[in-house]
């Protein structure tokens, strides 16, 4: 899955959780998205896990970085090194 495909799929996940479409940019953080509170954060994590068939570790759940970092993490987990 390419980085761009992941971004699009993640936009679907945000839509599913928030009920509104969000355009995701790499430099965004939780503060930039309406409704992204601590409960929604967990829901986004879980919905992403379900969408990509991956699992985040505790430290990754707690570490709320930028959208770009999150996409990197999803990319790394969904395309494990051969």
């Amino acid at each position: 899955m390419s980085r761009e495909e992941i971004r699009q799929a993640l936009e679907g996940v945000f839509d599913e959780v928030l009920g509104q479409s969000v355009e995701l940019r790499d430099d965004m953080t939780a503060a930039d998205v309406d409704g992204w509170d601590s409960v929604v954060h967990v829901m986004l994590i879980l919905a992403t896990e379900r969408r990509f068939g991956i699992r985040f570790e505790s430290a990754e759940i707690a570490n709320a970085g930028t959208v770009g970092e999150f996409i990197d993490l999803v990319e790394e987990k969904s395309n494990p090194p051969q």
Binding site: E16, V17, L18, G19, S38, V39, V42, M43, L46, A47, R50, F56, E57, S58, I61, A62
Partner: protein, 590 residues
């Protein structure tokens, strides 16, 4: 009915964040917990909205259960909850217990149990509230492996004890119910239920994916408490109670018994029989010739259900929606209290289309999956159980026979006289209190004031000389109808105020209310009281009795702003109605 697996937790949470469509009709639910409550509360709201049980929630700050309950000025009390859900987290209990020395642990667990019991008691004291407590899920940690349950200080043993204590408290308080959360977690799968990451990060007691099932239990209990439970299973026969078509395959050709899929049908019937014995009414709704449909009940050696288990047997070639309405009419119950079971998707859809109030679950193709599937829907939640429930099948069956009899008469009085009715009219006693309490909670239609006296209140009436609390039972040549009416008077000077008068719908049109009035007048006369006063308080459901007092000869004395009306009757001028009902003296039941 809803099927939690159809309901996705993420969409439910999103729905729950939107709030109810109509706030004025929504139940008010406080959610308190020793964990994060937001996930649960959002799913509960979403589910309520999805299944037509709209609700609004109140949640106090994180982990402030005790303070919130104790502080009478807290927003919880001004929220005036109809329901209070108390969430537990075994993860929190675990940490308390494991940090205590093994030798002191049992005492510590006892302490925690008592603290919890006092929280539950406090919650139950909120006026008008029903409390739902989630029991602890048994933890996955077993320091002694399988031997753990035999070690008194083990986590497994102590959590079991704590749950026992919770159930005990609930059984002592009439407005507290427990959710068997461990059952739900086991069904869901404990390895998926426990997600320690989410406990550490956000104090969530389970993976939120399990929440629709957990929240569903609370809504089931809410419904049961509100008297909206399901009462009757109306079922098809071919490929539901046996394999094959009895009309085509004949008695010998149907698959029922120990071989192959036949055993699955036997098992399904055993399950239905258990529900029937518990008081769920069974009805047959089949496209068949009547005699063909009855043949297996009469002659097949492997049938578990007998004709006497079926309160209403309808086998003809009319459409099933009409037949289902006929079942409702003959049993005198609402279409919305009937579950329709049919293997044919065509019939299920027809009923969903033409009789949408009925509850129509899917049916698995494989009969071996009938029971597990229907069980997963938890259709038959109940808020109480009394020995009277077990007789219900006979009551309803007798009612149907009675109606057949009625059709033979052209004159109602002759028909009523032919029934040879006998009634008991006695002051409340402890023996009958559970059934009295049940009627008081459940009766909606023939209920003049719809005051839901608590069990404790009812008990106080027993010996209070100011009160005149009576129960009424009815029997006739078709059988016992059981305890079917309650009337409570309160003496106020020269007036007997009838604060409660209610009657079960299954004995309507039998002139029992006239019999009761005759007795009330006798009671008043003996007590030297000159006047009876009754009040009709209209609700959405008690239109049936709007003219109750008028019909009985009372005079309208006052109309109140809430449209309730007060009626009076002079004892001296009253001419007894003397309906054809013999008064029988109560004998103590063995």
């Amino acid at each position: 009915m809803y099927s939690p697996e159809d309901l996705d937790y993420i969409s439910l949470m999103r729905l729950g964040r939107e709030g109810p469509e109509r706030e004025d009709e929504a139940a008010r639910v406080a959610v308190l917990g020793f964990c994060t409550t937001q996930y649960y509360a959002a799913v509960l709201r979403g589910l309520g909205r999805a299944v037509g049980f709209p609700l609004v929630t109140y949640e106090p700050e994180y982990n402030t259960v005790h303070q919130t309950l104790l502080d009478k000025k807290s927003p919880l009390h001004s929220f005036e909850p109809d329901f209070l859900v108390l969430l537990t987290a075994v993860q929190a209990l675990r940490n308390v217990l494991l940090s205590t020395d093994l030798g002191d642990r049992a005492a510590r667990a006892e302490q925690e149990s008592e603290r919890l019991a006092s929280v539950v008691r406090l919650a139950s004291e909120i006026p008008g509230v029903t409390v739902v407590v989630n029991e602890f899920v048994l933890p996955y940690e077993r320091a002694w492996g399988n031997f753990s349950s035999r070690v008194p200080g083990s986590l497994q043993a102590l959590v079991r004890q704590t749950n026992e204590r919770l159930r005990q408290v609930a059984s002592e308080l009439n407005n507290v119910y427990t959710v068997d959360t461990d059952y739900i977690a086991s069904w869901f799968g404990k390895s998926a239920w426990f997600d320690e990451r989410l406990w550490f990060y956000s104090k969530s007691f389970s993976h939120p994916e399990a929440l629709p099932r957990v929240a569903g239990q609370a809504i089931d209990i809410f419904r049961a408490v509100k008297g909206k439970g399901l009462k009757c299973i109306a079922m098809d026969l071919d490929n539901v109670l046996w394999g094959g078509t009895v009309g085509d395959d004949g008695l010998e050709g149907i698959r029922l018994g120990e071989l192959g899929e036949g055993e699955a049908y036997v098992q399904f019937q055993i399950w239905l029989k258990e529900l029937c014995d518990r008081g769920i009414i069974l009805a047959v709704c089949s496209k068949n010739d009547d005699d063909k449909a009855r043949e297996p009940f009469r002659e097949h050696p492997d049938m578990v259900l007998r004709e006497t288990d079926i309160s209403c047997f309808i086998a003809n070639w009319n459409n099933k929606a009409d037949n289902l309405r006929l079942v409702a009419q003959r049993l005198n119950i609402g279409l919305d209290s009937i579950v329709f079971l049919d293997d044919s998707p065509f019939e299920r859809n027809l009923v969903r289309e033409l009789a949408p109030a009925a509850c129509v679950p899917e049916m698995p193709e494989d009969p071996a999956e009938f029971v597990p599937y229907i069980e997963s829907l938890n259709l038959f939640e109940t808020a109480q159980f009394s020995p009277e429930d077990r007789k219900r099948t006979d009551f309803y069956r007798a009612n149907v026979l009675r109606e057949d009899e009625e059709a033979r008469f052209t004159n109602v009085d002759e028909y009523l006289a032919s029934l040879q009715m006998e009634a008991i009219f006695e002051r409340f006693d402890d023996l009958h209190l559970p059934r009295i309490a049940q009627l008081v909670q459940r009766t909606n239609q023939f209920n003049l004031t719809t005051i839901r006296h608590s069990a404790a209140e009812l008990k106080e009436f027993v010996d209070d000389p100011e009160y005149f609390p009576f129960y009424v039972t009815l029997a006739d040549r078709f059988g016992e109808s059981g305890l079917v009416s309650v009337v409570i008077g309160r003496a106020e000077g020269d007036c007997l105020d009838i604060i409660t008068w209610l009657m079960s719908c299954r004995v309507i049109s039998r002139r029992l209310e006239e019999f009761v009035l005759d007795r009330l007048v006798e009671v008043a006369t003996n007590a030297g009281i000159g006047k009876l006063r009754g009040r009709y308080v209209p609700t959405k459901k008690n239109d049936l009795v709007a003219t109750h007092y008028e019909k009985l000869g009372f005079r309208l004395s006052e109309t109140f702003p809430d449209e309730s009306r007060s009626w009076e009757l002079s004892v001296r001028d009253y001419v007894p109605a003397q309906p054809p009902i013999e008064r029988r003296v109560a004998q103590l039941e063995p």
